[in-house]
Every structure is written in structure tokens, then in C-alpha cells.
Symmetry: C2
Subunit: 358 residues, 2 copies
């Protein structure tokens, strides 16, 4: 096996042992237990007292920005970390470390691999955590997964169950950026340079809401949480099913100016952009009397949040409310192992679906 | 998407939500936090005091027994768990739980998926641990990985570093069974029914040496450990490199009678079968004065172990010693991202390599 036609060195030119020495050791030699198969979650014992340990694993789909033409694996690495940390955020947990699992073709260049690792390491650093171990294997197609391990505050693990009818739903984070970028790339909207950069940055480097998750857990006022990994509808429906409830969601939603500008140009209603996936927001169920305090606590950490509706009795189903009255919510939701499962090949349909209702 | 021609229901017929309800919930509903994205490592806090947390991840190659004709995914699931728990064993850690990550084609039948889960669950149960969470995604090819999380005894985490020249090397476990089975399937050896069943059982259900790892950690006498995931040579070489040492290994080794019978019939030297991979043995470096006590402590837990050689100064390289004198050790070792990386397609070559030296 030899390098690519352009002369770039491939992983298959190095072999596992040289990959370890030339690529991984310089990067991770400082990690406790580097070289051992089992990674050490190097947290002082005292700091762990009292809080439940949690673990979550997710594999990384082809990022939308890659489908849209971005070849740099940095963003794939960044997304892999975000996806996993987002699940810790929804549990109100703080990360102790991440283990990564990479299957890569032997024709992957060393430079590509380095960019993948750069993205992973940049994202874990952004959240004050790190890669503590991993596995690397050659295979026919790239397949990336990770496992994030975290710790909750004592008796404060958040989850899907525990919400009641009448609880308000908060949407935490800034939705709409990823698919706004898709409309820009598709030529359906134009933005001034500063907004363009803002939309691109958020689409390329989505942020797990770990800070928000911690604030929600500390508040003691939150009854249930979930991250928006498959769209707002899928998230709300899952929350409802876990608690045998329905939901009433206000479709009159304001987004950030750059995103609203894309909506207007592309003929997309803000609510429809807000209910897409890819921005790694959180949804939280909060008793009405605590909404103001929770939003203020989030604001104190510079985390935007807004009330988007409430949980209701199961019989009511999923209802959208707005200036024009009420209607059933037929939300955007991807479901794995179904025709809606996202593999990066339904872009045109997704864009059409979004603007059809505009 | 519809079922297979034979009418069997596929995962693509169900979709993610029905897979959750029909397959996963009945199996895992009792797990704390079932349905949440982050799994709970449900261990009482008091039990965790003092011991380091470790995590390890490995993806699962195509099992050799599958290459040899076994279609039942039970054994793939079993192997996935064994691979991961074996790394905990090498750290001297006890498992707290496993998170699994499955990418499966939508054409996977429900029955196949159930068998995969059966194998995973049987193997974790065998070791007194369990699956605490996971991720399921559809994709073009099956890709399975897992992450095992464990806890070491206080100040007793074992790893590759810490061995000295003169330390004896113990091989812990019963090597040779997996490739003995390969010779049987290839028609190169025949065994009476009882031995055949014994060889098949061990090949199909290899056991991670968790009990041994715990005994080694408790002994306080072990300086370094590693599991034999890529063959004995690769393991000893890695241990040596981690400690800047060489090794002298006695090639006069006795194996279990069924395995020795296969060796004799197939024209393979016992040492060559012993140095293959797939039996998930451990290698441990132990000061000479402690060898007897460590082997006795292992024997008390019914774990077989034998001294196979010693660590030496780096300059001596890797030497085989035996009745016929000394010779350099050119061991069998698979290396990922190289031509020796195992993808299940080099079986004939592997069998030839093994018997060439016979």
C-alpha cells in the first residue's frame, strides 16, 4: 500500500505502530495510562463523592456541512464530540472524559486523520474535558463513535421521565443555524459578511449545552430534559411518551436576526427552522412557577432560553398554537431504520419540506 | 422497505421507535435510566471509594468462527463483550457496566438482532455485569463497538509500564483453542466428540480474564500486564517497548490435550498455536520471587497460568529458548493498517503460516 497519487502519506503507509508513535503519542502522551488499553478517568476521588456516574455513546453521521461541501474532517471530529457531550448535558452531568472509537480506511491520509483529531481535541478542550482513550482500526468505510463519561450532581441526574401536565417547555440554545447555513449554500439566501460568518461558525461548531445542563441540575426545579438530536418534534414527542402526556407548542418563535433573515429570503417560517435538528439545543420541562428563575439562571451563564409551550394531558396530542389558532403538529422528525433516517442524501427534500409550509 | 424474501421481519420494517419498544424495552427496561441518552452506572457510591475509574473501547472484527461458517450473531455479540472486558482484566479492574454502539443494515432481521443481543447479554451476565446503555443506527454495513467502564482496587491499577529485566512472564489462560478449531474446520484434525465440543465451546465463547486480573491486582506482586489481543508476540513486544526491555521466551510449552492433539495432527508446534490471538489470555510480568505465589493465587480461583519466560535487557531483542537452543523470535502479529490486519480473509495463509514451522 502506498500514498495517494498526490503523494500524501496514508495511514496504510504507516501501519498501526507508526500511527501510534507519529500521530497519537505526540498528541496524547500526557494522558494517564497512555498506551494501556484501558483509559483512566483521572478525577480525584473526593470530587466524585456523591454524584452518579453516567455514560453515553453515539456514532457520528456524515455532518451536514460535509454534505454541503466541507471536506475538512475537523468538523466531523468536532461533531462527534458535540453529539456525545450533548447527551451528558441532557443528564445534567459534567464530563469526566471521552473514549473514541475510529474505524478508518487505510487510504485516509495522515493529514486527514490529524484534522479529525484536531476537531475532536478542540471540542473537548472547549468543554474543559479530554480524550482519555480510544481504539483505532482499519476498515472499508469511516465509522466514528465515542463514549462520554460524566458525573451528575448528587441526586440531581436529569432524564426524560418526571414531567407533569402544565409544566412549561423551555428550548435552550440558539436553534436554526445549521439549516440556515444549508439554505445559504443552496443559494436560497444571502447574508452580509458578519452574519455569514456567524451562521457558518455555529453550523460548523455546534456546542453541546453542558453549561445549561449544569445550571438546570443545580436549579433543582427542572423535571425532565432531553437534547434535540433528531428535531424538536421528535424530542417533544419522546418526552411526552415518557410521561404519558401531550404538548401544546407556540409556533410564534423569534430566532436570531441572521437566521430570521435566511427564513425571510428562503420562504421558511422561523418555527420550521427552529424545529430542525443539528443545533444541539436542550428541551426542559419546568413547573410554571420556576420558569422565570430558570431562564434567569441560564441567562447569568449567557445561555439563551425561551418558553415554547407546555405539557398537557395525553389525549390532546401534539398541538401548535399561534396567532392563526390551533393545528395538529406534524413535525419534522428523523427516525433511524426508516425512510427518514438521515444519511446525508435527502438534502433537497429536506430543504423543500422546510420551505413548503412557508 | 419490507421483509426478506423468506418473510422474516427486518429492522427496516420496524423503524427505530418500534425497535425500541419491541426489542430493546423488553430486554433492558429494568436498567436505571432506560430511555435516556446517558446510561447510569448504577453502583453504590460507597463501593467506588478509593478505586480509579477506567474505560476502554473496542470495535468488533468479524469473528473467526463466523469466517469459518458460523452464521449466528450470538457469537459476534459475545466476542464484542469479551474484547472489551479483556482490557479491563488487563487493568485489574472490575466492570461497572458496558455501553454498546451498533450500526446495522436495515435489512438485518429482528431475529438476527435478537441473537446479537443474546450474545452480548449472555457474556456480560457471565461476568456479573450488564449493558447500561447504547446507541443504535442504521448503516450500510454492520459495525459494532462497545465501551467497558470499570473500577480498579485502590492504588492497584495494572498497566503496561513498570516491569524490569529479570521479571518472569506468566501466560494466564488456556491458549490455542480458537485456531485449533480452525484446523478442525479445515479438516486438518479430527477429535473425539467430547474434545470437539470442548474446543468448539472455547472458540465460540472466549472468556475475558477478569477473575485473573482481579487476583493479579490483589496480589500486589504484578508489575505489568497486557491482554493477548493481537497475538503473544505483539503483546510481549509491546510490553517490552513500554519498559525498554527485551524478552526470552521458552518455546517448550504444554497445551491442553485437545489442543495438543490438533497440533500433532495438523503438524503445528504447540508454541505456534499458543502464540496466536483469539483466546484472550493475559500476560503478566512478575518478580521471580513472587511467581509461585501468584500462580497459586490464580489456581485457587481455577485460573490456569504458566511461566513462559522472562524480561531481559533491551539489547537482547526477542529470543526463543528451547531444547534446541536459542533463536530470534519472529512472531505472529497482526498489525492494523498493515497487510497483517485481520479482516477475516487471510485464513488459508494464517493456517499455512502456523504449520509451516511444524
Amino acid at each position: 500500500m502506498s500514498g495517494r497519487p498526490d503523494g500524501e502519506e496514508c495511514l496504510g503507509d504507516l501501519g498501526e505502530r507508526q500511527i501510534l508513535e507519529k500521530v497519537l503519542r505526540p498528541r496524547y502522551a500526557g494522558v494517564a495510562g497512555f498506551g494501556d488499553d484501558a483509559a483512566v478517568l483521572g478525577v480525584p476521588i473526593a470530587d466524585r463523592a456523591g454524584g452518579e456516574l453516567v455514560a453515553t455513546t453515539d456514532s457520528c453521521p456524515t455532518p451536514l456541512v460535509t454534505v454541503l461541501g466541507e471536506a475538512d474532517l475537523f468538523h466531523t471530529g468536532w461533531l462527534l464530540v458535540t453529539i456525545n457531550l450533548s447527551d451528558l448535558a441532557a443528564a445534567g452531568a459534567s464530563p469526566l472524559g471521552l473514549v473514541v472509537n475510529y474505524t478508518l480506511p487505510a487510504t485516509t491520509t495522515v493529514r486527514e486523520f490529524q484534522r479529525l483529531l484536531d476537531g475532536v481535541d478542540a471540542c473537548v478542550a472547549e468543554h474543559g474535558t479530554r480524550v482519555v482513550g480510544g481504539d483505532l482500526r482499519d476498515g472499508g468505510t469511516m465509522q466514528l463513535s465515542a463514549t462520554a463519561i460524566g458525573q451528575c450532581l448528587p441526586d440531581r441526574r436529569l432524564g426524560r421521565a418526571g414531567a407533569s401536565a402544565g409544566d412549561r417547555l423551555l428550548l435552550i440554545g440558539q436553534p436554526g443555524y445549521l439549516w440556515a447555513w444549508a439554505f445559504v449554500v443552496a443559494g436560497r439566501a444571502r447574508l452580509p459578511e458578519a452574519q455569514l460568518r456567524q451562521v457558518r461558525d455555529r453550523a460548523f461548531r455546534p456546542t453541546a449545552q453542558l453549561t445549561a445542563g449544569r445550571v438546570l441540575a443545580e436549579s433543582g426545579a427542572v423535571r425532565a430534559t432531553m437534547d434535540v438530536s433528531d428535531g424538536l418534534f421528535a424530542t417533544v414527542r419522546t418526552l411526552c411518551e415518557a410521561n404519558d402526556l401531550g404538548a401544546r407548542i407556540d409556533e410564534d418563535i423569534r430566532l436570531d436576526p441572521a437566521v430570521e433573515s435566511v427564513c425571510e429570503q428562503a420562504g421558511v417560517r422561523p418555527f420550521d427552522l427552529a424545529q430542525t435538528w443539528g443545533d444541539w439545543s436542550l428541551v426542559a420541562a419546568v413547573p410554571a412557577g420556576s420558569v422565570e428563575a430558570v431562564i434567569a439562571a441560564l441567562a447569568a451563564e449567557a445561555v439563551p432560553a425561551r418558553e415554547i409551550g407546555e405539557l398537557a394531558a395525553a389525549g390532546g396530542g401534539y398541538v401548535l398554537t399561534g396567532p392563526g389558532g390551533e393545528r395538529p403538529w406534524q413535525g419534522i422528525a428523523q427516525e433511524r431504520f426508516s425512510s427518514s433516517s438521515w444519511h446525508g442524501d435527502g438534502l433537497d427534500r429536506m430543504l423543500s419540506d422546510l420551505s413548503r409550509t412557508g
